[in-house]
C-alpha cells in the first residue's frame, strides 16, 4: 500500500462487529465468547443494532467491514444482511473496499455461504487452524480437517473471490514434518490469504492451564522458530507475500485492509461486547466483556464502554513502533515524530545501526523495515527503540 493511501485511511474507519457466542470454546482461545444460546443471541443482536444506530456518529465514512468472534456464522445470514442494511443507512459505506466474515468449518453449508455472499460479504476467513485431525482435537476445535477443506471449497464454489485460511503452528505434539504437510495442503488449496501464527498460551485459557500442569507440551522454541521460517520459505516460494509477522497474501491486493487499521494506527470502530475502538488520534476505548451488561447498558441508553484511555506521546510512539515493526513496510520515523513530537536520539540511531548489522531491519532514510528475522523481534525492538525517543 502506498503512503498516499495510508494518508487517506485517516478519515475512513474500519468497522468491526464482535459476535460473542460459540458452540464450544476452543482450548487456546482468549477472545471473549459465551456458549451459544438463542435468547441471548436475540438480545445481543438487538443491542448491536442499537449500539450501531445510537452510539456511532451518523455518516461515519467506512473503508472496511469486518465480522469476527466468537463464531459469527452461528447467526442467521439474514441477520447479517440486516446489519449491513442498517449500516448502509446509518453510515457512509460508499468507500467500503473489503467486507470480511469469519467462519468456522462445520457451522456453515453451501446455502449459508451463498447467502453471506449475497449479503455483501466479499471475503471469507476460515478458521482451519490445522489439517491434521489429532492437532484439531488437541486444540479443541469442533471440526475435522476434511470439513475445513470442504468449507474452503464451498466458499470458492459459491463465489467468494477472497478466501483467507488460518493455520496454527507450535501445537502440542506437532513436528516440523507435520507442519510441512499442513502448509503443502494449504498451498494446494491456494487461498488468497493465509494467517499463519504460532499457538500462544494466553493466560486463563484451558490450553495454558494444561501446559502449566504438563498435560500438553508445545514443541521446543527452536522447532517453533523453524516452523516460522518454513512457513516463510514455502509460502513465499509459492507466490505469497509475507506482509506481517503472521500474515501472507497472494499479492498486495489480497492483504487484509481491515487488519492494516490495527497495524497502522488508522481509526476503527468496534461494536459488540469486548470490541475495541481507536479514533486514529490518541483515544482508545473498549466495550464491556459481558453479554448481559452489554445488553443492559444499551437498554439504558448508555454506550457499553468498559474503559477509555488517552495515549501519551510515549505510548503512541511505542504503539507505532510495536505495530509498525510487525509489517514488512515497517515504520517511518518521520511520521512517528509528526504524530508524537518524539524524535529518535543520536544514540537511538546507533542502536538502529546495530540492529541493521544484526540483520534485524533495513534502513532507508527515515523508514525502518523489519527483515523476516526481525519481525520475530518486533516487540523487543519497539521496546528498546522507544527508550531512545525524545521530544
Amino acid at each position: 500500500m502506498s503512503e498516499q493511501a495510508s494518508e487517506a485511511e485517516k478519515t475512513e474507519y474500519g468497522l468491526y462487529f464482535h459476535f460473542p457466542f460459540c458452540l464450544r470454546k476452543c482450548r487456546y482461545c482468549s477472545f471473549f465468547s459465551d456458549r451459544h444460546d438463542n435468547q441471548a443471541e436475540e438480545r445481543y443482536f438487538e443491542s448491536l443494532l442499537r449500539e450501531l444506530t445510537e452510539h456511532v456518529p451518523e455518516g461515519l465514512p467506512l473503508r472496511t467491514f469486518y465480522v469476527g468472534g466468537g463464531t459469527p456464522t452461528l447467526l442467521e445470514p439474514s441477520k447479517w444482511k440486516r446489519l449491513r442494511e442498517v449500516t448502509d443507512r446509518h453510515l457512509d459505506t460508499s468507500g467500503v473496499i473489503e467486507s470480511t466474515i469469519e467462519t468456522n468449518p462445520a457451522t456453515s453449508n453451501e446455502l449459508h455461504l451463498g447467502e453471506l455472499l449475497e449479503a455483501g460479504f466479499d471475503r471469507l476467513s476460515v478458521g482451519v487452524q490445522s489439517l491434521r485431525d489429532v492437532s484439531l482435537r488437541i486444540l479443541g476445535r469442533p471440526h475435522t480437517a476434511q470439513e475445513a477443506v470442504q468449507t474452503i471449497r464451498t466458499g470458492r464454489k459459491v463465489g467468494f473471490q477472497r478466501l483467507s485460511f488460518d493455520l496454527i503452528y507450535g501445537i502440542p505434539d506437532q513436528t516440523l514434518e507435520m507442519f510441512r504437510e499442513d502448509l503443502q495442503k494449504a498451498i494446494d488449496i491456494a487461498p488468497e490469504h493465509v494467517s499463519c501464527y504460532e499457538l500462544s498460551l494466553d493466560e486463563g485459557t484451558e490450553m495454558a492451564g494444561l501446559h502449566k500442569v504438563g498435560v500438553v507440551k508445545k514443541p521446543d522454541e527452536d522447532v517453533c522458530k523453524e516452523m516460522y521460517l518454513l512457513a516463510h520459505e514455502m509460502l513465499t516460494s509459492n507466490g505469497y507475500l509475507h506482509y506481517e509477522v503472521s500474515n501472507y497474501a497472494l499479492g498486495e491486493d489480497n492483504t487484509s485492509v481491515h487488519n492494516f487499521c490495527y497495524w497502522r494506527l488508522s481509526p476503527y470502530h468496534g461494536l459488540g461486547p469486548s470490541a475495541h475502538s481507536f479514533d486514529g488520534n490518541r483515544d482508545r476505548w473498549w466495550n464491556v466483556s459481558d453479554n448481559a451488561r452489554y445488553v443492559e447498558m444499551l437498554k439504558q441508553g448508555r454506550p457499553p464502554t468498559e474503559e477509555r484511555e488517552t495515549l501519551t506521546a510515549m505510548q503512541m510512539a511505542l504503539e507505532l513502533l510495536m505495530l509498525g515493526l510487525r509489517i514488512k513496510d515497517g515504520v517511518n520515523l518521520r511520521e512517528v515524530a509528526a504524530k508524537t513530537g518524539l524524535e529518535i536520539t543520536p544514540q537511538g540511531r546507533e542502536h538502529l545501526e546495530q540492529l541493521r548489522n544484526q540483520g534485524m531491519l533495513t534502513i532507508e532514510e527515515d523508514r525502518i523495515r523489519p527483515t523476516v528475522k526481525g519481525m520475530l523481534f518486533a516487540d523487543g525492538m519497539a521496546r528498546d527503540l522507544s527508550e531512545h525517543m525524545e521530544s
Binding site: Y262, W263, R284
Partner: protein, 599 residues
Amino acid sequence: MERKTIRNFSIIAHIDHGKSTLADRLLQLTQTVSDREFHDLMLDTMDIEQERGITIKSSAVTMRYPADDGTEYTLNLIDTPGHVDFSYEVSRALACCEGALLVVDAAQGVEAQTVGNLYKAMEQDLRIIPVVNKIDLPSANMDEVLLEIENELGLDVDSAVLISAKTGEGVPELLSTLVERIPPPKGDPEAPLRARVFDSFFDEFRGVVVYFRIEDGTMAKGQSVRLMATGRNYTAEEIGHLGISRVPTPELYAGEVGYLISGIKSVEDVRSGDTITDADHPAQQPLPGYEEAKPMVFSSIFPVSTEHYNDLVAAMNRLKLNDASLTFEKVSSAGLGFGFRCGFLGMLHLEVVQERLEREFDMSLVLTAPTVLYRVTMTDGETIEVDNPLLYPDPAQIRKSEEPYIKASIIMPDKYIGPVTELLMNRRADNYRNLYIGTKRVELTAELPLAEVVYDFYDKLKSITQGYGSLDYEPAGYKPTDLVKVDILVNKRRVEALSMLVHRDNAYSWARNACKRLKEEIPPHQFKVPIQGAIGGEIIARETIRALRKDVTAKCYGGDVTRKRKLLERQKEGKKRMKMVGQVEIPQRAFLAVLKHED
C-alpha cells in the same frame, strides 16, 4: 520520683517466643495505651521490623503500675534488638536495667540467642525472672521447659511465671512478681551526672532524640551537658519521660530513664554506650562498657543507573542520621560508576539498609558481593586490611592471608545433630564440640570463618532444623587462610560487583553456583550469552544462556492494542532494574541470588 518505686527491666526472648506480644500486653494492662490506640507490635516501629517480626533498634517505654499495696510503680521497659547482628546494642540496653524477663516458649524451649543474651544479662548482675510463655498452646510442655531452664541456664524456677501473652493469662501475676523481685535502681543522686545512652534516633522536626538512663546525679532542662566520647557540649533543650509519646519534665533523677533533645544533628555524634555528664561539673570517669560498633561485612552500593548517584548520596546521608553503625565512603568503579563502600554489622543490617534505600528512597541498587575484612601480609612485611575484592593484591606479592573467625553456639533438638554437623564441616568449622543440655537438646560450639557464616548460614541452619535451631556468635580473632579471587565474566566481561574472595577449596563450587544462578536470573538476549567463573585467566566454571528465539506476540488483531502495549511498558519498567554490563542486561536481583549457595 522516689527511686524505690522505679523498676528498669528488659525482655530477653528468642524471635517468635512472644516478646512483642508480651510488651503489648504490659502496655495495655498498665493503660499506657488505650485500646483505641493499641496497635499490634507497638514497639517495632519500622516496616521492616514488623514484616520480619524482629526488633532492629532498641526502644523504651515508661509504664505506670498501681500495685496491690497501693504504691504506684514506674516501669521502664528497655527493649533489645533480637538479631545477632545487633548484639552490641543488647549489651548497652541491658546495662541500663536491674532486671530482665527471660521469656521462653513453652513449646519450643530455650534457644541459643536467648542463652547468649542471658549471659550478657548475668555478666551485668541483672535479676532474672524466668517466664514461660504460650502456655495456652496444645503443644506446650511446661515441665520440660522448666527443667531446661533449671538445668541449662542454672536459674531458680521456683520464681518462674507461667503466662500466655496472647490471652493475657498470668500477666497480672508477672507484673507483681516484677516489682517484687527486680530491685530498684541504685546510684548516687548527689554525685556528678552520669547517664548511659542506649539509643538515639533522628526526628524530622527536633533533630536527634537521645534515650538514656541516669546512673548518678540529676539532669535538668536548660542544663549544659557533655557527651564524654566526643567531648562535645550541648544544652538540654528538652528532657522527659518516655510514654508512648514523649512527656517533657523539668528534671530527671538517678535511676530514671528518659530522653534528651539538644540540637544534635546526627546520631553519629551520639553512640550507644556513651556517657552524658554535666558540662560544668563533669564526672571523673565515663560509665564502663563503651566501644565503637565494628563493621563485620563490607559491600559496595551503586545505583543501577549512574545518573542516580546524587540521589544515592542524599539517601545515604539521610540514613546515616538514624543509623550510627552504618559506615561508608565514596568509591568508583569502571563498570559500576560512583557509589559507596559500606560497612555493616552483619547481613541482616545490610539487607535492612538495602531495603530502606529501596523503599524509603525509591532507589534501584546494585550491591557487590559482601565480604569480610581480610588481613594480608605482603612479601615486604607490610600488613594491609582488604575489605574489597577489587583491591586484593597480586598473589605473587602476598606472603600470608588471614581471615576473621567467630565462635558460634548453636542450640537445637538432638535429632538434627547430623545435618547440622555436616553444615558446620562444609563451612570449615574448627574446634567443634557438642554438649547435651536437657534430654533431647544439644548445644554445638565451633569456630567458623566469618565469611562462611555471613551469607546464608542462618537461613540454612533454620531450614535444616525446621526452624528449631538457633545461633549466637562472637568474634574469635584471625586465622591463616588460603584465598583466591574468583571473577565472574558475563559475555566475556568481568562483572566487578560479582568478584569475590573465597577460600581455595570453595572456589570451584562458588563459581559453578554463581554461573548457575546467573543463568537462571539473566533473561535471554538476542545473542547467546556465555557466563564464566575464572581465577585469573583460568576458566573454572561455565554456563551459556541460549539466544532468544523470538520476542513478538504471534497474533495481533481484534484491535486490543492496549494490552500488548502495557506488556511492553511493564517490560520497560523492569529494565530500569537491570544493570547493563557490556551488551548484557543483568537484573538487580541476580546480584543477590548469586550469594545463595547450595551445600
